[in-house]
Subunit: 219 residues, 2 copies
C-alpha cells in the first residue's frame, strides 16, 4: 500500500473523518481536492464517477506493490481498513462491548445525522421542494445532538469512550463543526463540547481541520 491519495473536500465531514484516521495513524497522503460546488459539483463529473460511482467524497486510492491501483469509499469502511492495515494506535477499544459502543456512536453520526443534512440533500430540499434548507439541517442536527449527549454518558471519559480517541470522536468532532453552520445553540450539549475541546488539543485533529486544508475558503 503506497502513494496514498485522498479525493476529498475540505468542508465535507466524511472527508475530515478519513483525514483524521490517516493523521492519527501517521500515514502520509496526497490531497486531491474535489470541489463539491464548482462546475456543478466536481463529484458529478465523468472523471470522478469513474473513480467513485457513488459520487461521494472521500475516496481513498493507493497503489499495491504489484502496481494495482485500488480504491475505497465510505468513510467508516476506509477507517476500518486503515485500522486493519495499521493497528496502532487503535481507534477501536479493546473490550468488545466498548468497541461496539464506539461503533454505535460513530454509525449514529454517519447514518442518523450526516446524511439528512449533507450537501446533496440540502440542495434537493431547496431546489425541488422549495424548502428552507437551513431549518431542515438545524432540525436533524438538534435531534441528533440531543440523542448523542445522552448516548455518550455511559462510556464518556476524556473522549466519547474512555480516555483514548476512538472512531466515535472521529465522527463527533466533524459533525459539531458542521452543526455550527446551521447556527445552532450547542450549549445544551456540554459533554459533547467538552470532548470536542479535548480533541482540539490533539495534533491530528489540528492538522486535519477543514480550515487548514489546501482547498479551504473559510468564512
Amino acid at each position: 500500500m503506497k502513494d496514498l491519495r485522498l479525493h476529498n473536500y475540505w468542508r465535507s465531514s466524511a472527508s475530515w473523518r478519513v483525514r483524521l484516521g490517516l493523521n492519527l495513524k501517521g500515514l502520509p497522503f496526497e490531497y486531491v481536492a474535489v470541489h463539491l460546488l464548482k462546475d456543478g459539483g466536481q463529484q458529478n463529473s465523468d472523471a470522478y464517477r469513474a473513480v467513485n460511482p457513488m459520487r461521494t467524497v472521500p475516496t481513498l486510492e493507493w497503489t499495491e506493490a504489484d502496481g494495482t491501483v485500488r480504491r475505497l469509499s465510505q468513510s467508516l469502511a476506509i477507517l476500518e481498513f486503515l485500522q486493519d492495515h495499521a493497528p496502532s494506535p487503535s481507534l477501536y477499544p479493546e473490550d468488545a462491548y466498548l468497541r461496539a459502543r464506539a461503533r454505535m456512536l460513530a454509525e449514529y453520526v454517519n447514518s442518523g445525522m450526516q446524511p439528512m443534512q449533507n450537501l446533496s440533500v440540502l440542495q434537493r430540499i431547496k431546489a425541488e421542494l422549495n424548502g428552507d434548507d437551513k431549518a431542515w439541517g438545524a432540525y436533524w442536527n438538534t435531534r441528533g445532538l440531543e440523542a448523542l449527549e445522552k448516548m455518550v454518558q455511559p462510556t464518556v471519559g476524556r473522549f466519547c469512550v474512555g480516555d483514548s480517541v476512538t472512531l466515535a470522536d472521529v465522527c463527533l468532532v466533524p459533525q459539531l463543526y458542521g452543526a455550527r453552520r446551521f447556527a445552532l445553540d450547542l450549549s445544551p450539549y456540554p459533554t459533547l463540547l467538552r470532548i470536542e475541546a479535548a480533541c482540539a488539543e490533539h495534533p491530528a485533529f489540528q492538522a486535519s481541520h477543514p480550515d487548514r486544508q489546501p482547498d479551504a475558503t473559510p468564512g
Copy 2:
C-alpha cells in the same frame, strides 16, 4: 450474553439486517415489536426513549452472566458485535481489501440510501415541506441502486463479494425490498436482482423476511 431481545419493526430495513445477522449466526432471540406508526410512533414513547434515545430501531438488548442488562443500537455496529461474539459463519471476508469492499457496499446502503428515505424523513418531507414523499424516496433509491450496480462488479460472485453471504448482502436485500415500495423499475439492476434471488434461497433470509414477522401486516 443470554436472553437476547430485539426491539424492532417488521418493515424496517435496519431491523431486517439484524434479524439476518442473528439468524445467520444461529442466535435465538425474543422479538419485541416497536410499531413505528401506531400511537404517534412507539419509538417516540418515553419507554422506548429510555431504551434508545436515538428513537431508532433496532435495539439489541441482552443480559450478561452477572445480571447486567446491556443494549446496543445501530444495525452495523450490532452486526460487528455479533461477529465478534460468534465469529462463525463469518459475514466479513478474510481478505482485508475484500472485507473493506463489503463494508463499503454496506455503508453505502446504510448512510447513502436508507437514511434519505426512512420513515422519519419521509414524514417530514410530507408534513413540513408538503413534498411528494414517494417521489423523494424513489429519487434516492434510483440514484443509489445505479451506483451499487456498478460498485458490485469488481467483486460479485454468487453474492456481492464472492460466493459467501457478507454484510453487503445483509444490507442490499432489505434495501431492495424497501425500494419496491416506491414502485421503482428494478430491471436496470440485473446484478443486484441476481444476488437477491440467490439470497432468497437461503433459510436465514427466509426466516428473517419482514412479511414473516409477528407484527407484519403486509399489503
